[in-house]
């Protein structure tokens, strides 16, 4: 018994520290389902009648949830207008739907200032959605600052993926 216990201890010790040391590598960046670059459907499906949840259907533009920003900018680029229009319309047609918009930044600069920059991006997304028919009460804009990078490298290729607003519907966060 004594032997078994000390063996168990030794294993536990080894395992415990090994795992702590091995924990250096970054977790894999969260992979999101991306719609094909040319969506086959542009009109939002009827939420009740549809067999497939339009928010999850990879062929539906509503399954796309990310808007990307230029460095130090929070204005919505033209290429994301149609995406926000589709989500604005969905929110208008589904008044019970709620959305969390998370603004994100690249890693450069102050963490707290980046929380504020991410907030500005999230509010920019929200404002556009409201212009497209959503109500203020449906959308909560929040910031993750630089804390949850999708890409963990230290170059512009990564940074451009991290300057982002993500739209999450109720039940997804």
């Amino acid at each position: 018994m004594k032997k078994a216990l000390s063996a168990a201890l030794a294993v536990a010790l080894l395992y415990g520290c090994a795992s702590q040391q091995a924990a250096k590598e970054e977790p894999k960046a969260r992979v999101e389902e991306r719609a094909p670059s040319q969506p086959t459907t542009t009109q939002p499906a009827q939420p009740r009648a549809a067999q497939v949840n339009p928010l999850k259907d990879p062929n539906n533009v509503l399954s796309k949830r990310s808007v990307f920003f230029d460095f130090d900018k929070s204005d919505i680029k033209d290429e994301f207008r149609s995406l926000l229009q589709a989500h604005g319309k969905y929110l208008a047609e589904n008044r019970g739907a709620k959305m969390l918009v998370q603004g994100n930044c690249d890693e450069r600069g102050s963490r707290e200032y980046n929380v504020a920059l991410g907030q500005r991006r999230a509010e920019s997304v929200k404002r556009t959605l409201v212009l497209m028919g959503a109500t203020e009460a449906q959308i909560e804009p929040v910031s993750l600052g630089e804390e949850k990078p999708r890409c963990t490298g230290h170059d512009e290729q990564c940074w451009s993926q991290n300057r982002r607003g993500d739209m999450l519907y109720g039940g997804e966060y």
Binding site: M1, L5, A8, L9, A12, L13, Y15, G16, C17, Q20, Q21, A23, K24, E25, E26, P27, L100, Q102, R108, G109, S110, R111, E112, Y113, V115, A116, L117, G118, Q119, R120, E123, E140, P141, V142, S143, L144, G145, E147, K148, H154, L168, Y173
Partner: protein, 430 residues
């Protein structure tokens, strides 16, 4: 009752694992630059201190050396070791260039506690500068050594020592975030909070009994205050719609300045430390964040881009018009005020490098204290002598410290972990 001994073994294993790994996860401090005008000092081993697992005088000597203010002299081969002033050969110490000598003794008391007596001696004058005794339990031996080092430091430099203070910081290991507190020398690290989501902006209450911080565990930033003395669950003090971040304590510990987006944009608010009595302070159509009180409580310094780029501003703590403090460059953030209120430390970006800058508030003269490239989150030691900040080496976050005159540099690392968001705690016992 299935397999009770198995359960016990597991528990024991878990406990040992924690102890073992905690020991490995200590911060180690490396001095990367020395100071000028170091006082040569000899710290002689205390008679009887072998009764402790670690000699008090090792800790004292390391504290003094790390401060950059002292040069510790070789003390080997002294036999017998003096523990009283009459036994000290001053002529010998003078020839060894010592300005000061520390002698002492350790005794185990009947209640298993220890009593350390020490004397700090002035070699040229052959006088005692101070002589004191401390009584402590074995588990507090390191803290007692730090306190002795604080007394020596204060007597010889004229300013309070910070060896017995603590620092808070965040460690990221994989997808696990830990808020930790350690002694100022990086030893004795304790985990305050473990979360699968990021933790940023820890801030000590002025009395050292509470930590405010920002947690992302609710998929957005929420401000918490955690007691370090009572085993209470941390309580959210600001969890409004939108983002809640950047907590800063008022010098009396009764209020927190915070940044909320509940009215749209990032604006500075003031509230009581329990979250009540919320009042909005800033109204500019721009970002206002990173508030910090001046030590006299009169002003709040903060970062805002109301002028087109992020710069540091100052306003009355009750709100009102803001005065711009920084003008050079287009990215000046993270203001901190020295404990004497005379210096503004902040992070400035020049040519893509983020560096720590010190500005003398009277003359507005600036000095770059670090070279970057990714220095952030500065935090003054309570005596104002050193500034702790976050930096990186390769892909890993490390903590570093620099003296407020830029001369002494230290690097603090935790093995195989990413360390960030340092915050230096207050003096103990005030």
């Amino acid at each position: 009752m299935p397999n009770r001994s198995g359960q016990f073994a597991l528990l024991l294993a878990a406990a040992l694992m924690f102890v073992n790994c905690a020991a490995r996860a200590q911060l180690t401090i490396e001095i990367t630059g020395g100071g000028a005008n170091q006082t040569p000092i000899a710290v002689l081993p205390f008679a009887g201190e072998a009764a402790l697992p670690q000699a008090l005088t090792d800790v004292i000597e390391q504290d003094l050396a790390r401060s950059g203010r002292f040069r510790t002299l070789y003390v080997g081969g002294i036999d017998p070791l003096p523990s009283e002033m009459a036994q000290v050969n001053f002529a010998d110490w003078k020839s060894r260039t010592a300005d000061a000598v520390v002698i002492g003794s350790l005794q185990k008391l009947a209640d298993n506690r220890f009593e350390a007596r020490f004397r700090l001696l002035d070699v040229p004058k052959q006088t005692q500068i101070v002589g004191l005794s401390l009584t402590f339990a074995a588990k507090d031996a390191r803290l007692s050594a730090h306190k002795i080092a604080d007394i020596i430091y204060e007597k010889l430099t004229g300013e309070r020592g910070v060896f017995s203070t603590r620092v808070a910081y965040v460690v990221k290991q994989g997808a696990r975030y830990e808020l930790r507190i350690a002694d100022a020398d990086g030893q004795g690290a304790q985990s305050i909070l473990i979360s699968p989501e990021p933790i940023i902006s820890p801030a000590w209450s002025p009395d050292g009994t509470r930590l405010a911080y920002v947690s992302f565990q609710h998929k957005k930033p929420v401000i918490y205050v955690q007691s370090l003395t009572a085993s209470r669950q941390p309580a959210p003090v600001a969890n409004y719609r939108g983002s809640n971040s950047a907590p800063a304590w008022s010098p009396d510990g009764k209020q927190l300045a915070v940044v909320l987006s509940r009215d749209g944009g990032s604006q500075i608010f003031l509230m009581n430390a329990d979250g009540s009595n919320l009042r909005r302070l800033t109204y500019a159509d721009a970002i206002s964040t990173e508030p910090v009180f001046s030590p006299d409580g009169e002003f709040i310094y903060f970062t805002s881009d109301r002028g087109g780029s992020p710069q540091i501003y100052r306003m009355q703590a009750a709100g009102g018009d803001a005065v711009r403090m920084t003008f050079e460059g287009d990215y000046n953030v993270s203001p901190r005020i020295s404990p004497d209120g005379k210096m503004l430390a902040y992070i400035s970006r020049t040519e893509g490098r983020f560096r720590l800058i010190a500005m003398d508030l009277a003359s507005r003269q600036m000095q770059a204290l670090t070279d970057g490239p990714n220095d952030e989150s500065p935090s003054f030691a309570p005596n104002g002598r050193m500034i702790l900040y976050a930096s990186d080496v390769g892909d890993r976050g490390v903590l570093a410290a620099v003296s407020s005159d830029g001369r002494v540099k230290q690097r603090l690392t935790v093995q195989a972990a990413d360390v960030r968001e340092p915050s230096w705690g207050p003096f103990s016992g005030n």
